[in-house]
Amino acid sequence: MNHFLIAPVVLPALVAPFIIMVVRHHMDLTRIFSLASTVLLLAISLVLAAQASTGEVQVYELGNWSAPFGIVLVLDRLSAMMVLLTSVLALIINLYVIGSGWDKRGANFHALFQFQLMGIIGAFLTGDAFNLFVFFEVLLIASYGLMIHSGGTRRFQAGVQYVVYNLLGSTLFLFALGTLYSVTGTLNMADLAVRVAEIPAEDTALLRVGAVMLLLVFAIKAAVIPLHFWLPASYANAPLPVAALFAIMTKVGAYAILRMYTLVFGPDLGTTEGLAGAWLMPAALVTLMIGAIGILGSYRIGRLVAFGAITSMGTLLTAIALFSPESVAAALYYTLHSTLAAAFLFLVADLISERQGIEITAQRLMPQSGLIAVLFFTGAIAMAGMPPLSGFLGKLLVLDAARDHGMVWWIWGTILIGSLITILGMARAGSLLFWKSHSIPVAPSAETSQQPYEEEANEQDDTAERSAPAALPFVACFALLSGLILLTIFAGPASHYAEATAAQLFAPEIYIEAVLGKVTP
């Protein structure tokens, strides 16, 4: 048994309490430990990704209890890819948070951050449905803390909505798991797959109810219309670097859909045949459209990017709902891209809102306006899926995968029109923020915002005195940007990996055999 497999869960689980109990009062030590843990996490997930890329499915049995009885962690290509994506994102956001001083504005940021990583990575690695619930709760309870980090009326109010919505989702998750357990008598995913396939079609009424409830739960996490209402308010009112980390949280929902509806309720399974695809496809297309319209209608920078995240979830779930190996490969490539792009735009949005508040209005020129404008412009290109960045390739792969589908014109139309509206919305916001502000006289106005006003000449000093290493936020932004560029340059290898991952997902026998250690009937 490869003990390395549990390391990415154990590491943050140990570092977080250490930070709370030992180094809580020393900001520098807290930062050092948090950053070191995140770097180590990245190293671990690189090794895991290298191990998984051989195509072997590794299983870690907790407490050495064998598969259907104990909890297992399973590492396949999909898990390894998602863990790697999480740890890359975590390192960059950690740098940004330290650089911008967000972690000083409330208590225990880094401990919650580590717990959040533990939950996300655990959810990606677990091979047990109830354990998936537990890791969901771990990541959610940490996210509640992060969401209301540094406080404020609106943030608390949005926090209440966010927590209530997710508690409802958790309750529904438990109902779904209870239903599945009462029919199959197991919660191990591989064992579920075996038992579900054995149940005769006429006895599957409860099973189908369970499958639909599970889909609803994951749709809440993935912010699919009409279950998306929690996302705009909570992402826009959370600290924006935290929202950047949350960009991976919606992907946990997409991951869970992908995992459960290829492994347990697979596309070949008679009882739930086409269930996920038939419901998910229209919902995903509407999600895409609502997200795009939301971008156009946002009057605040946080909401703008939050709706951008919804749009990319729409595109991603459209690809997943096709449930073919090509479309899943496209979805995986798009997952990598859209997580980085959404996080990137959230960080840029934070740079903007730190300088001139959260409203998308023309104000006097902000410090480093030119640099931020370039970053925003690139992020908008990535988000909208225009060439030359990876969003274009991702969308092209999705469009290509939809070619043989019955709803191909709906899919192409929605994705393309959605992209157009996204471009319009981003262009509107960008021109208000960066162009219109040139026409506003530099003379100090009567109504000053929260930020201390400086003359243009001192703009460098201005940021330097507010947050000591002012370069670090930009380093983080450029790291995400270079991630996007690398994803574009190495689109070939990345999409080959995605294709191999999709092939592995559509051959669930390998997974089941690795977990249960026997050939399925």
Partner: protein, 124 residues
């Protein structure tokens, strides 16, 4: 199992149904306090439901007996319920604290957010 009307299945099923119905009614209210009560009722409902997912047995321990063929009840749902109780208890505590913070800071416990708030000085 007795054939009387008030058997254990009927009682448990109506308990789950009543708790869930009351919970759903309460979470649709506009103020945080009834919503939190509704969430608690929902979690009680789901806990009982989970408990019943291993089939209801009366007077049977959740332990296998290797000396005799005695009836036993499925122990796994009990472990699941225990986990679910702990998690929902913790979550309820968290949501109460956040709701209190929101109430004390906004002087209003409406669950809706105002659309065009006048106070915006918190995002510094």
């Amino acid at each position: 199992m007795s054939m009387t009307f008030l058997n254990i299945e009927f009682l448990v099923a109506s308990a789950v149904g009543l708790l869930t119905a009351a919970g759903i009614y309460l979470i649709l209210r506009r103020r945080t306090f009834p919503v939190i009560l509704g969430l608690s009722l929902l979690t009680y409902g789901v806990n009982i439901f989970l408990f019943a997912s291993g089939r209801l047995m009366v007077n049977a321990p959740p332990i296998l007996n290797k000396y005799a063929e005695v009836p036993y009840t499925d122990p796994l749902p009990q472990a699941l319920v225990l986990t679910a109780i702990v998690i929902s208890f913790g979550m309820t505590a968290v949501v109460v604290m956040i709701a209190l913070a929101a109430y004390l800071s906004a002087r209003d416990d409406k669950i809706d957010m105002p659309h065009h708030p006048e106070d915006e000085g918190e995002d510094a």
